[in-house]
């Protein structure tokens, strides 16, 4: 059984497919997905902007606290994103925009690990934001804007176009 049929079977058995195809579930999930990305930009994106020198009237620690809401936003987007994906797996798996979106997300995750493991502890107590933290902030902003941009492009690639970086 191919990955696509396995995922389709899961979506059918779990009822996710039926729910997502009710009258308003898909647009409502999209709206929640957009609110989630706004929560992420309003927390992670704002901290990145602050590290890069914008909005210095608020302490970095004071701004960083809002990433708690960013976590909620990200959780909304993982849940709604999985609901989209399992309800039409062929529309995503073979979609170059989706593949690039996932690549940007992986870059953002790796950057989070480097940031909290290495750059963030060194930013505490320093009078100037260290260069390493600024580089992480720039990568984070670029990666998340890439995630949003490629996400918006997903709808422009639909089967039977079916071309992707591993389709050949």
């Amino acid at each position: 059984m191919s990955a696509v049929t396995a995922i389709e079977a899961f979506a059918a058995d779990s009822g996710v497919f039926a729910f997502m195809n009710t009258a308003w579930a898909w647009p409502l999930a999209e709206s929640i997905h957009y609110l989630g990305l706004s929560l992420l930009l309003g927390s992670v994106g704002i901290v990145d902007a602050r590290l890069l020198g914008l909005g210095t009237r608020i302490s970095i620690a004071g701004l960083h606290a809002v990433t708690r809401w960013g976590m909620f936003g990200f959780a909304f987007n993982v849940i709604t994103g999985i609901a989209f994906f399992v309800s039409a797996p062929d529309q995503y798996l073979y979609n170059p925009a989706f593949q690039l979106k996932i690549a940007c997300m992986l870059l953002a995750f790796a950057n989070v690990v480097v940031f909290y493991g290495w750059a963030w502890p060194r930013a505490h107590g320093a009078s100037e934001v260290p260069v390493a933290a600024k580089v992480c902030a720039a990568i984070s902003l670029g990666a998340w804007m890439g995630v949003i941009s490629f996400g918006r492009l997903i709808t422009f690639y639909r089967p039977p176009e079916h071309w992707c970086f591993w389709c050949g």
Binding site: Y34, L35, L37, L40, G42, A49, L54, R57
Partner: protein, 154 residues
């Protein structure tokens, strides 16, 4: 409707609708603009809800909001130029514009006068709710239109 049909055949409308990279590029500008505007509102809602908002602290982010608003306005106007009848015949579109205006009014009131927020949680929730409603009405435009192109009606 005749006016929409005429407009849809202007060079501007055709350019946005039929030059392949233009339309997706405008959608990207529109969603990034939305994310930045609502993102700064999320920050304001957070600070208000925690009673931590200091006068003027959001002001440093206001130029960024204006930049994002300009990007959203221009991209939105061009998207409207591509499909004028689709949006202008849909009541949801006017509701979206009203919600955006309400969102900006709340943004201005709360960031300038933190003491307006006697009920910090309710104020923050109202701000987030208005923006979520604006996002939702925007997303619904793709699902609730009765006309796509007026020129197809003739």
């Amino acid at each position: 409707m005749e006016y929409f049909a005429w407009f849809e055949n202007t060079a501007l409308s055709l350019w946005v609708r039929e030059s392949p990279p233009v339309f997706p590029a405008l959608l990207i500008a529109h969603v990034l603009g939305m994310g930045v505007i609502v993102g700064v509102n999320v920050l304001l809602a957070w600070r208000v809800s925690r009673r931590e908002l200091q006068p003027g602290e959001i002001a440093t982010f206001v130029p960024l909001v204006w930049l994002a608003f300009t990007a959203s306005l221009i991209s939105g106007a061009l998207l409207l130029a591509a499909y004028p009848a689709k949006a202008l015949t849909n009541p949801v579109f006017y509701l979206k514009l009203a919600l955006i205006a309400l969102g900006f009014a709340l943004f201005g009131a709360l960031r300038r006068r933190p003491r307006v927020a006697h009920w910090p949680l309710a104020s923050a929730a109202a701000l987030l709710l208005v923006w979520f409603a604006a996002i939702t009405t925007g997303r619904l435009l793709a699902y609730t239109n009765t006309v796509l192109l007026a020129s197809h009606l003739f």
